[in-house]
């Protein structure tokens, strides 16, 4: 796995005796995929992004960005795009003026900066408002300008801190589709509290708790999509013994109204007919089926220790 971003034992403390924001954070982000960055408030997501972008200085540890070492603006010029979480845009300018300026600072020539600006404004569906003063734009529109700033110039590594924050469902859907389309071309790291959204979007996930990485890996692996099925059942006597007899390599247990099936790798698809048959024979209605725990459940399990 080529890592686009690597943290090793990174420590960051705010103030001389202040809060320990990152406590030996270690993780890797694979190249050319979309990585979800998950953590509770204060887990260190924004701090980690800020360290990558050079806004903050680490107290210890190493950060490797695109194989070039830690942040150095001239070495990484045009190769890193960052959406800061709570940075206000310079609101005296229009989106077009601001993005052209930022594109030029990334080393693009005048013509390329102009065309790139128009492209990313179309990506975030702000084309018609490109010449309006940023001060006159709504919160959601400003957010989209900020997202566009991270995408301008097609940087190899893009960090998006809460990109959907403040967007309405239609805008969020549009942006999610646009980001998904970048898969394979750029490395995206997306932080969000909307874990179902992240689960749909990401290939890989990094979970943070109290400044440390508690879990990382492909989304399918982290959520157990290849090894676990959760059957939501209606009233009735669940035939656990029959299931165990029919599928001896599988393990079954109940969590309330949910029958949890653990299976050896690759055996889930072939077993579903047998499970459905056993449940139907016992007269137990199936209300829903889900592969894996879902990112949200996994996060709650890991972070809250349930």
């Amino acid at each position: 796995m080529d890592a686009a971003l690597r943290f090793v034992d990174v420590v960051k403390r705010y103030g001389r005796r202040g809060t320990l924001a990152l406590d030996g954070l270690t993780f890797e982000v694979p190249a050319n995929g979309i990585t979800g960055f998950v953590g509770h408030n204060g887990a260190g997501k924004t701090t980690a992004f800020s360290l990558v972008s050079g806004f903050l200085h680490a107290d210890a540890g190493t950060i490797d960005i695109l194989g070039e070492g830690p942040f150095e603006p001239h070495r990484l010029k045009g190769r890193l795009g960052v959406l800061p979480q709570d940075a206000e845009l310079p609101d005296r300018h229009t989106p077009r003026e601001l993005l052209r300026h930022l594109a030029r600072l990334q080393g693009l020539d005048r013509a390329t900066a102009a065309s790139e600006t128009d492209r990313v404004l179309d990506v975030v569906q702000l084309g018609p408002r490109r010449d309006a003063r940023i001060a006159t734009l709504s919160h959601g529109m400003r957010r989209r300008v900020a997202v566009a700033s991270a995408l301008v110039g097609r940087p190899a590594l893009v960090l998006l801190d809460e990109p959907m924050s403040g967007l309405d469902p239609v805008q969020a859907h549009g942006l999610r589709e646009a980001l998904a389309a970048l898969r394979g071309e750029q490395t995206l790291v997306v932080s969000s509290h909307d874990l179902s959204e992240l689960e749909r979007l990401s290939d890989h996930v990094v979970m943070l708790k109290d400044g440390r990485c508690v879990r990382q890996g492909p989304v399918a692996e982290v959520t157990g999509q290849g090894a676990e099925v959760r059957w939501a059942l209606g009233p009735g006597e669940v035939p656990l013994e029959a299931l165990a007899a029919q599928l001896p390599e599988h393990r079954f247990h109940l969590e309330g109204d949910v029958l949890v099936q653990h299976a050896p790798d690759g055996a889930l698809d072939t077993s579903s007919v047998a499970v459905m048959g056993a449940l139907a024979a016992a007269g137990v209605p199936v209300r829903g089926v889900r592969r894996g725990r879902g990112l949200e459940q996994r996060f709650i399990d890991d972070v809250l220790g349930r």
């Binding site: 050079g54 010029k77 600072l105």
Partner: protein, 297 residues
């Protein structure tokens, strides 16, 4: 270098669109116009006094007796007070009085204008974190130097606006025998005004780098400007006191006001003080940068 120019252009663009910078520009222009008008009235009074002394008819429009006024001892006294140096009087006595007045006023006001305009440049962007959009794309030194350059251009624009306003006041309110010469002298003095503004732009930017509170930055910058004038006054006073001469001499070397006298020099004599003023400005910016380069944004 390209990044510095890009940042400077963006800074200037923003400053022009910010009401505060515009308000400062307008205030400076209005103050220049007002002072020029008062000066013209003062010239009129001096000319009438001169006419009375010479036993000729008083003039209705100021400037009608400009040649006589410039060769009078009254005008030489005024020049001595303006430049603070009697030996410069001979060299400047033939320069259009309005141009000299504008240079004097520029020296008085530009420090406050320059420091006030530049003091928010970085602090407000650190406070709102808007600086993060640029800081991920270029170095902090380019950010600071670019903003310094942008503020210098803004100060130059203010000086040019002042020239335009004073020229209009002169052309409409007094007799100006050679308007082209007046405009030429007004423009010739702009680089000196700008040079004297450089250390104060530097002070403003230094204050802007050490705190993320624009209000504190403003207090620091304006306090530093006021402090520098106070220190200059004390140094001039100390020059004549036993035991303070060395200290005063050192203070006058490191204070921009200590080089003010040199900026009045005719010919190319003002260039060295101008270079020193620029160096003092850069030193102030560099001092602020020591803090800025290490801080979290």
């Amino acid at each position: 270098m390209i990044d510095v120019l890009l940042v400077a252009r963006f800074e200037l663009h923003r400053a022009v669109r910010t009401w505060r910078a515009l308000a400062l520009l307008v205030l400076y222009a209005v103050a220049s116009a007002g002072v020029a008008w008062i000066f013209v009235q003062m010239v009129g009074v001096m000319e009438n006094n001169l006419a009375t002394q010479l036993g000729v008819a008083q003039t209705e429009t100021p400037g009608a007796m400009l040649a006589e006024l410039q060769s009078s001892s009254m005008w030489r006294d005024v020049l001595g007070v303006m430049t603070g140096s009697p030996h410069l009087v001979d060299a400047l006595v033939d320069v259009p009085p309005l141009a000299l007045m504008n240079l004097w006023f520029g020296f008085l006001v530009v420090p406050f204008f320059a420091a006030s305009a530049s003091t928010e440049s970085i602090a407000i962007d650190v406070q709102t974190r808007a600086i993060r959009f640029e800081a991920q794309r270029t170095g902090r030194v380019e950010l600071v130097v670019g903003r310094f350059l942008g503020q210098l251009v803004l100060t130059a624009v203010a000086a040019l606006v002042s020239v335009a306003v004073v020229f209009v006041v002169g052309a409409t309110q007094m007799v100006v025998p050679d308007r082209l010469a007046l405009l030429g002298w007004l423009l010739w003095f702009v680089p000196r005004t700008l040079a004297f503004g450089v250390p104060f732009v530097g002070l403003g930017l230094a204050a802007s780098q050490v705190t993320s509170s624009p209000a504190w930055a403003r207090v620091l910058a304006v306090g530093a400007v006021a402090g520098s004038w106070t220190a200059f006054g004390l140094a001039r006073y100390g020059e004549q006191r036993r035991g303070f001469a060395l200290l005063s001499d050192v203070a006058l070397q490191v204070l921009p006001q200590g080089w003010l006298h040199g900026l009045w020099e005719p010919g190319v004599g003002w260039l060295l003080p101008a270079i020193v003023c620029c160096a003092l400005g850069l030193a102030a910016v560099a001092a602020g940068y020591l803090r800025f380069q290490a801080r979290d944004l």
